[in-house]
Symmetry: C2
Subunit: 300 residues, 2 copies
């Protein structure tokens, strides 16, 4: 069983894996040039993955049969395990807890060569809808504090399988970066009684310098202090703290926003590898006035 | 002139470069296979680098002439510039300051193919001695708060030139990671009235599980909550907050410690790329009871 361990100096939790070193992809460097490898995410190979948790498929079709448009499955080599007690204990000055959580894979499309940018708008909307659906389900497990949703696209960005997919890791701890954002945003709110992200959006729309594009519901902007060239954030213009509370209209606009961003990035950088991460509020929290969910997108 | 910009949410300063995109190495991906490229760090090419700031060379030999064992030069494409005022200002909700600082390169050996692990113990000691010497000089500039010393070894770890070298960046801000360590260590000290790193060393020496090796003055250990496989920290066993206050005996033992670590890592991982960073206290601070300098070493 994996373990969660806390760095005693900077309080960052890390997952210490016991299983993932067995992943076949750990040897993939030598195999990278092979093209026609077996893909467990392709239709017809449903039996080669753990049973699906969620799928978008024709009514009356059986789970784990062909014909689906999107599948969510447990990661075969999970960073965290669903079973077991959330056992917290000390080891001298150190703190650990058992690695309870969930690690799921969202297979975005049945077509092997299709990328997220290639999908139709309704299909991208379904991807975001699957994210929402999974969070709403997982938050019923009150051991879980956070659901981290991310996508690694391209081998250079760490994707170990080429078939387009994203991942969800639900954890009994808050990721350090989220703790920092919540804390920074809370301090700002105490001082100004306004959400810092709302203020950023307001200033950027006024200045116009760092706005990549916007629509009625979303803005895509280059952050003031980026870590990477072409780093881009997508934020809802209205204040919302939890991604999973997005409505259908929001999902529709979000799909459009991501599609346009991918098209612009692909045009500018010739189809780069990339990562994105959804930054949202802890799932067990009521809506927060000081935090504003958003997506951070980084070409690799 | 480069700029320092602060992320308004998590208070992380980043350097926004205006010059570094001109570096020839930005195109090196296509050139990686070329072997016999011109090396500005090799003897005979001293005129191709900015004039040296410090060198270990025979008495009576002229600066920037051949015959040296180690040279420190300004980075030709510096992330920060030495000249100019430390101009702090706001841009609406954002905070910035001019990119005042220093960016230096420590050329560790005149021999092109020689790696840090190949150097004799007295030569490695000279490398650490050069780090110390540069910090003691730079801290006289009271605009500078921190000196970050790091080494990227191997193209996979980000080294843009193959000739063995390390780098120093002196900044008017504290790196976020250092702020976090200082804050975590200060909180622990408030609670326990002991240095957390001293407590880690004490517990690790007692347990013996994560000690890679140790000698009279230093310990090399696998941190409890590592981010990377084979991540290793080197700490002085005695409490010292500032690397630059190390004495000759300390430098001698540190050279030995790093050499053994590199030998062990090279044997275990077949000469991997790696990074290391010296974590030390802010240069303008008096010795601190709660912080303990150390080196964090990560194979790539």
């Amino acid at each position: 069983m994996p373990e969660l361990r806390k760095d005693p100096v900077i309080s960052r939790w890390v997952i210490i894996s016991t299983e993932r070193s067995k992943r076949p992809s750990d040897f993939r460097k030598e195999k990278e040039e092979q093209k026609e490898v077996f893909c467990p995410f392709c239709p017809g190979n449903e039996g080669q993955t753990p049973p699906e948790i969620f799928a978008i498929r024709p009514h009356n079709s059986a789970p784990n049969s062909q014909g689906w448009e999107l599948r969510v499955i447990p990661n075969k080599f999970p960073a965290l395990g669903v079973d077991g007690q959330l056992n917290r204990r000390g080891e001298g000055i150190y703190d650990m807890m058992s690695g309870v959580g969930a690690h799921e894979v969202i297979i975005e499309t049945p077509k092997h060569g299709e990328s997220l940018a290639d999908l139709s708008l309704p299909h991208i909307q379904q991807v975001f809808s699957a994210f929402k659906n999974r969070i709403l389900d997982l938050r019923n497990d009150i051991r879980l504090k956070y659901t981290l949703i991310f996508k690694n696209h391209g081998a250079a960005a760490g994707a170990s399988l080429a078939h387009s997919h994203s991942q969800l890791i639900a954890t009994p701890i808050l990721p350090k970066r989220i703790v920092e954002e919540l804390s920074g945003a809370r301090n700002y709110f105490k001082f100004k009684e306004r959400c810092i992200f709302c203020d950023i959006i307001h200033q950027e729309l006024k200045d116009g310098v760092r706005v990549v594009f916007d629509n009625d519901l979303f803005i895509a902007l280059a952050p003031y202090a980026p870590r990477f060239p072409f780093e881009t954030w997508i934020l809802p213009k209205e204040h919302h703290s939890h991604f999973e509370l997005i409505n259908e209209e929001g999902l529709q606009h979000l799909a459009l926003t991501l599609k346009i961003l991918l098209q612009k990035i692909n045009a500018a950088l010739q189809f780069p590898a990339y990562n994105f991460v959804i930054h949202t509020s802890p799932v067990q929290e009521a809506p927060l006035s000081h935090y504003h969910w958003h997506i951070e997108f980084m070409p690799g």
